[in-house]
């Protein structure tokens, strides 16, 4: 399925991104947030029908249906994964719903929380699992079927990101965004140039020993070993997994400083000199480092090589959602191009709408660090989606053992 993905950013676009553009847009974003706050507050009596948030409106044939809803809407998602306006003041002024957002650290935690509610009373409306986990969640009855008549804006999504293996007809899920994994390091502390997962693992056990962080989710934690060694990430081969366990638990774990899925603000505090990170979080790290008075130029983002992850996170409606109507209304609303691009600018992941290139040049011409959001065809070919198979239990076990070992 990775072959279906098209090139999403022209090379000329990437060249535009230099340090000056970054700083300019960094301050502009902060300023804009304040202005928008004021707008959201004053407009709350009369909900606007056009989605505010980005400069202007995209040209072309887009569906922009807005269904009003009421009450509160509870979303359970990953950390720093939504523009605060879009899950706050804007949602209230445009849709009439008050949103509450809670965060989980891994898909496993999400499933546990929903299961603890017996699948019917978790209280969440919208949940954001990663694609492969949807099968299991449907089996356990944790998410409900969409009412597609309430999601007319789904036509805005690029067909390449619809009909995935885990949900062929998008009965339960729609793409929120997709992303990939790489690492981020301080070039003043690690002088050797790092380019591959093997470099990452070597640095973690070498120069950056005791200063490196890894993602705290089972498949991501085991990924670098497989990718570095040219083994299929989705292998079910016992010998390969045993070897991975031996390496990750006995060799790598003692050098790890933290299991941290969102290292951006701790990178800015100076806690790590090397961290495995999802592309969007690494992109946010640049502005945090800037914020802390650090020097972003000293930090380098590397897309994992020779192979790496491709994940797609999806919006789903939880089974027994107290406000399913509002959940549909919000999901439909976020698929409006202006909202989607505003969200993209914040979290730094490709939201998978049609004609992404055109949308960016029209709505977000000053987008910073676009090369961390959009990838070339060649890069995308190296990314692989996770398949949820029998090995996941082993991966969970390996992560737990590594945690115990690292703390010992």
């Amino acid at each position: 399925m990775t072959q279906e993905l098209r090139i999403l950013a022209p090379d000329s676009f990437r060249e535009k991104l230099n340090r000056r553009a970054f700083i300019k847009a960094g301050t502009a974003t902060a300023g804009m947030a304040v202005v928008l706050m004021a707008c959201g507050g004053s407009d709350s009596s009369s909900p606007d029908t056009t989605a505010a948030g980005v400069a202007g409106e995209a040209s072309g044939d887009w569906s922009r249906v807005i269904n009003q809803a009421s009450g509160t809407l509870a979303m359970y998602t990953w950390g720093d994964y939504d523009d605060p306006e879009l899950v706050g003041a804007l949602a209230e002024s445009s849709l009439g719903v008050k949103m509450k957002v809670d965060y989980f650290p891994s898909n496993e935690d999400l499933i546990t929380k929903l299961s603890a509610g017996g699948g019917t009373s978790s209280g969440f409306d919208i949940v954001v699992p990663t694609g492969p986990y949807i099968v299991q969640m449907v089996e356990k009855g944790l998410i409900q079927k969409f009412d597609k008549t309430l999601l007319p804006n789904m036509v805005n999504v690029d067909p390449a990101f619809l009909g995935q293996a885990w949900d062929k007809d998008n009965e339960y899920s729609v793409c929120k965004n997709w992303g990939t994994t790489g690492f981020f390091y301080d070039t003043t502390k690690i002088t050797k140039e790092l380019n591959t997962w093997q470099d990452f693992l070597d640095a973690c056990m070498g120069e950056a020993s005791g200063q490196c962080a890894v993602i705290d989710a089972p498949p991501n934690f085991v990924g670098p070993y497989f990718w570095a060694n040219g083994i299929d990430w989705n292998t079910e081969d016992k010998a390969s997994i045993d070897a991975a366990e031996d390496f990750l638990v006995n060799k790598l774990a003692p050098h790890i400083k933290a299991f941290d899925s969102y290292p951006s603000s701790k990178l800015a505090e100076g806690a790590y000199s090397l961290a495995m990170a999802w592309n969007g979080d690494a992109r946010q790290a640049y502005s945090r480092i800037e914020d802390a008075g650090g020097t972003p130029e000293n930090w380098r983002w590397v897309l994992g090589a020779p192979d790496t992850e491709l994940f797609m996170d999806t919006f789903c409606v939880a089974a027994g959602a107290p406000n399913a109507e509002a959940a549909h209304a919000w999901i439909n609303w976020i698929l409006i191009p202006e909202n989607s691009i505003k969200d993209l600018e914040y979290h730094g992941y490709n939201t998978g709408l049609k004609n992404m290139e055109g949308l960016i040049s029209e709505l977000a011409p000053d987008l910073v660090k676009g090369d961390m959001i959009f990838f070339s065809d060649e890069q995308v070919k190296t990314m692989h989606t996770q398949v949820l198979n029998s090995s996941i239990d082993r991966f969970v076990d390996i992560l737990n053992k590594a945690k115990a070992k690292a703390g010992a």
Partner: protein, 676 residues
């Protein structure tokens, strides 16, 4: 109705001795004994990921225990015990001089002041204070940079975060207040004449301290040690926020077995072993204490020679002291300096929380260099929030001015006038609530706003439950002791010593089961009135520990008073209900208020149980903040914490006035708070 009829009825309806403790018994059976029993059962089961409750109980075996007994688990376990032991000893050594100063060396006024300063930090969100430690300890932080500039440390800055050292510092900090309070109560109760007698007989300061003060304070020290050591062992929040991979503690390891790995059986086995280890380390500790005191108390050659030497030395010293008249007694100064430093230590994170709520940047822990009220604006609807503040100020000001006027112009007693302040506060609270959609209206950002509201609703509900069932149980224990007392006290003791993480997983795994029961399960599945299932679970979860505390406080209060008043009431023909209402209730009222206050503070801050049992609509402030620590913590969490702190202080003030009105001194208030 004549008296004789009443007597007859009373005899006929004579309830069993433990009748008043029945609500507690049912509560503890349903929500403590059975869930914990299930954990024990789970620990022999096997993981089955395909089920909603991922446990397969068809083949019970001890395999999980075999899996737990591996090297890495023991290493984490050992480091948890080491951190907890060092922190307990640290708290004792740091806290003892402060308690000593407050108990012996200062006036009543200063006593209250010092105690207030020690207790107040505990009323700020535990989590935000822990997060705040990231600020001074950050390698790129101002403190670190300053140390580097002074060349006191290497250019890499402070390397403490994400290590066991950071956890160690924060744990000592977090539990210090819980150590100082019982220590103070124990020291304060010592009859000064004992110490004077010791000195009159020629004992020096040291031998008085070790020979008289310390042994008499023994129970308080043990209480302090228990109050700190046990929660520390189960603490996983501090380790999660500050410890990184190296500062891992057993609590987080167990929690991740339940939430991340979905391996309930293995997690259960770990939890069972953990409580076993905590209990046995307490037994070992008790044995050591007993051994030492036995050696000191009994005339062995060692202790005799030790005592003789101490006595001789102090004689020499006191003679020398009498010789030089100008010699300045430095002890009080040293104690004062130490206390000031401890109080500064307690307040540093709180000051940083307040400061960083005015951070202009986008992360709570990283000071951007630009102060601003941006995040206050982000969290609050400015107009509505100011209106609330103004209404509070105006109503309280009117009341305070009115009090002054009335106290001068009229003969209304000063005591009843003391109600004016808190009364006005309460009135303002009601008025503002009515005008702002129960305070929803003042928040622009529902995430923090609703979390704060939920925290108060959860803590209030749990406190009511705790005060009611704990109050009845306390009365029953003091007034109707019997064989049942032993079993009941054992349960209460178990609730107090079970690490919270164990209760949390027991309840989190129990609720899905109990939700399927008819009637009992209904509130947990469908909610109750405006409160959803999650809120009901929070009330249950938070009320367990709190009700045990209330039970002990009420029992202790009544144990000191004999039953003659109630008997007199009965002799005069009062029904038991009436005697209870008119005699017993007033006697225990201050204990109930103090227990309620303590419960409220504990529940408001409850993170461990709440995280595992809460649901979407019932997310409390600590739960939401734990969620927020998984990504960048925005400065409005600091704003929320400041608000929470302010409101809690208001409640504290209210209660202190209530207790003072009933004539308690600060020593008594502290004593009630510490459960003695």
């Amino acid at each position: 109705m004549t008296a004789s009829v009443t007597f007859k009825q009373r005899r006929k309806l004579r309830a069993p001795k433990y009748a008043l403790a029945l609500p507690s018994m049912i509560w503890y059976t349903l929500f403590f004994v059975v869930p914990i029993a299930f954990i024990v059962v789970y620990s022999f089961g096997a993981k089955d990921g395909s089920k909603l409750l991922p446990v397969d109980l068809s083949n019970l075996s001890g395999a999980n225990y075999a899996n737990v007994f591996d090297e890495t688990f023991f290493k984490v376990f050992r480091s948890t015990l080491r951190i907890s032991t060092i922190a307990t000893i640290g708290c004792l050594l740091i806290g003892l001089p402060v308690a000593y100063l407050a108990a012996f060396k200062v006036s009543e006024k200063w006593k209250g002041f010092i105690l207030a300063l020690v207790v107040v930090p505990s009323f700020t969100s535990f989590l935000i204070r822990t997060v705040a430690w990231r600020i001074p300890l950050a390698p790129n932080g101002f403190f670190s940079k300053w140390l580097v500039d002074m060349s006191w440390i290497g250019p890499q800055g402070i390397q403490v975060l994400e290590t066991p050292m950071a956890v160690q510092i924060a744990i000592i900090y977090n539990y210090l207040g819980f150590m100082i309070l019982p220590l103070f109560v124990a020291l304060d109760r010592i009859d000064v004449r004992m110490r004077e007698a010791s000195k009159d007989l020629g004992a020096g300061r040291l031998s008085t301290f070790f020979g008289i003060t310390l042994p008499l304070a023994g129970p308080g020290i043990i209480a302090g040690v228990l109050l700190t050591f046990i929660p520390m062992c189960g603490d996983f929040v501090t380790a999660t926020i500050l410890g990184g991979a190296k500062g891992n503690m057993i609590g987080s390891m167990i929690a991740s077995q339940f939430s991340g790995a979905q391996n309930w059986p293995l997690g259960s086995a770990m939890a069972v072993l953990m409580i076993g280890a905590v209990l046995s380390s307490m037994v070992v500790g008790a044995a050591i204490v007993w051994l030492v005191s036995w050696i000191v108390a009994h005339p062995t050659p060692l202790s005799i020679s030790l005592k003789r030497r101490m006595f001789e030395q102090s004689l020499v010293r006191s003679r020398a002291g009498k010789g030089s008249l100008l010699k300045v007694d430095i002890l009080p100064y040293a104690l004062w300096t130490w206390t000031a430093l401890v109080i500064l230590f307690l307040f540093i994170p709180i000051m940083l929380v307040v400061l960083h709520s005015f951070n202009g940047g986008s992360s709570f822990t990283i000071w951007s260099g630009e102060p601003g009220v941006k995040w206050w604006g982000e969290l609050f609807d400015g107009t509505a929030a100011w209106a609330v503040v103004v209404r509070f100020a105006v109503i309280v000001a009117i009341a305070l001015v009115g009090r002054e006027v009335l106290s001068r112009k009229t003969l209304i007693s000063k005591r009843s006038l003391n109600w004016a302040g808190p009364g006005a506060f309460f009135l303002a609270f009601i008025v503002n609530g009515a005008l702002t959609d129960s305070y929803r209206g003042i928040f622009d950002f529902a995430g923090v706003g609703d979390a704060i509201r939920n925290s108060f609703i959860a803590a209030f509900g749990a406190t009511v439950i705790a005060v009611v069932i704990g109050g009845f149980a306390g009365v029953s224990l003091a007034r109707r002791p019997g064989i049942w007392t032993k079993f009941f006290m054992a349960t209460v003791f178990l609730i107090l010593v079970t690490p919270e993480i164990m209760d949390a997983i027991a309840l989190a795994t129990w609720f899905p089961r109990i939700a399927e029961f008819p009637i009992i399960g209904y509130p947990f599945k469908n909610g109750w009135g405006p409160f959803n299932g999650g809120m009901n679970k929070l009330w249950v979860g938070q009320s367990l520990y709190a009700s045990a505390v209330v039970t002990l406080i009420v029992r202790a209060r009544l144990a000191g008073l004999d039953e003659s008043l109630e008997e007199a009431a009965a002799d005069l023909g009062a029904t038991p209900a009436r005697a209870f209402r008119q005699i017993t209730l007033p006697l225990i009222s201050s204990a109930l208020v103090a227990g309620g206050l303590l419960s409220f503070a504990l529940c408001l801050d409850n993170a461990v149980i709440s995280t595992l049992v809460s649901e979407a609509g019932s997310t409390t402030f600590p739960v939401a903040l734990i969620g927020a620590t998984r990504s960048t913590i925005k400065p409005f969490w600091g704003v929320g914490a400041v608000l929470l702190f302010t409101v809690t202080l208001g409640a504290l003030w209210f209660v202190t006035v209530v207790l003072r009105r009933s004539g308690s001194s600060s020593s008594e208030i502290a004593a009630t708070l510490a459960g003695n």
